[in-house]
Each structure stands twice: as C-alpha cells, then as structure tokens.
Amino acid sequence: SQTIHQWPATLVQPVGSPLSLECTVEGTSNPNLYWYRQAAGRGLQLLFYSVGIGQISSEVPQNLSASRPQDRQFILSSKKLLLSDSGFYLCAWSALGSPLHFGNGTRLTVT
C-alpha cells in the first residue's frame, strides 16, 4: 500500500534562517507531488506541484522553492525565512485519476 511521510511535524525557526521540509512517498511510482500551505482553519493554498523528477511548477511568487531530486521525494526550502512563512505545510501525492493523499503536515513557526 502507498504511504506518505512528511517531517518534521513541528518546527520553530528564527527569521532569516534556512528551511528544509522533506516529503517521501512509498508504494507508488511517478506520482504527482504537491506542497500546500494552510492558514489556521482555512483552505489550502497550492505552492508547488511536480509531475516528474526535476519538474517543478510554482503557483505563487514567494520566498520558498521546491525540488524533486528523486521520483518519490519532494523538498520545500527557503534560504531565509520570513515571519509570513509561518503556517501549516502539507505534502500530498496523487496518481492519474486518483484523489490526493496528504501527509500529516508540518507546523512551522517563524519567530
């Protein structure tokens, strides 16, 4: 069966520090991968999605970047965090015709 792992679960980082959030998927090949950000109790904003290794589409201009170094690995990064980067970050995967499957999220607090 397919599983998705996202870590860390929580993270507190100072302004100006770098960020690296990792997401890996098991049990499937060539999934579509997504990074979403969610404000408290609200909908999800699509940040990046990828349909293959090295293929990244950015949805909104921002202080973040994404990379897909391996088929089932998706990384969200920042060189210098801003206070406005705080939020709940969710990684998800899908295959053609299937719904999204989400990880349990990372709660990021930038102080």
Binding site: N32, Y34, Y36, G41, R42, G43, L44, Q45, L46, Y49, V51, L90, A92, S94, L96, P99, L100, F102, G103, N104, G105, R107
Partner: protein, 110 residues
C-alpha cells in the same frame, strides 16, 4: 486564478440539526472533491463528483455537483458531534492541479 469560495465560513450547531455547506466558483472544473480535516492532520477525501448534476450519498452526507460544474453543496442530515471538523471542497483543474476552497469549520455540540 481559479477561486473556490465556501460558505458559511463557520457553522456551530446542535446535535441532530441539518446543515448545508456551499462551494462556488466562476470556473468550470472537470471534477470536484470534498475533504474533511481534523486538527493537526491532513485532509481526508470524502467523495469525488464528476458529472454535472451528480448527487452522491455517504451515509448522512449528500453531495451535489452543479449542472454547470462550477459549484457544489454538502448537506449533512442529523449532524453528530463526530461530524465536527474542517470541510474543504477542491476543484480539479487541468488534470494535475487541485484548487481548494476557503473551508468551512463545523462544530456540532452534543
């Protein structure tokens, strides 16, 4: 930019009451999904509707996709405290992208 507006934003009701959540957009979607999310977890899929006018039932939950595939509704009959959570609609656009609605937070009191 595709936008999905949900209403109401918050809903607080007593156990046994009925409720309807609406999801509206000016864009046409190939399909629409409804998710439910618990605090600190990722959303979990409830249903996918594909055909305009389609109605799907999941126990006490009834989902409808608008004829023009621009809107959808979720109706819950005789709500239970276990229905409490954040309900999210999401439109599938261009086969690869899922655009989420603004969310409806439901609280059902015993």
């Amino acid at each position: 930019t595709q936008l999905l507006e949900q209403s109401p934003q918050f809903l607080s009701i007593q156990e046994g009451e009925n409720l309807t959540v609406y999801c509206n957009s000016s864009s046409v979607f190939s399909s629409l999904q409804w998710y439910r999310q618990e605090p600190g977890e990722g959303p979990v899929l409830l249903v996918t509707v594909v055909t305009g006018g389609e109605v799907k039932k999941l126990k006490r939950l009834t989902f409808q996709f608008g004829d023009a595939r621009k809107d959808s509704s979720l109706h819950i009959t005789a709500a239970q405290p276990g229905d409490t959570g954040l309900y999210l609609c999401a439109g599938v656009w261009n086969t690869d992208k899922l655009i989420f609605g603004t969310g409806t937070r439901l609280q059902v009191f015993p």
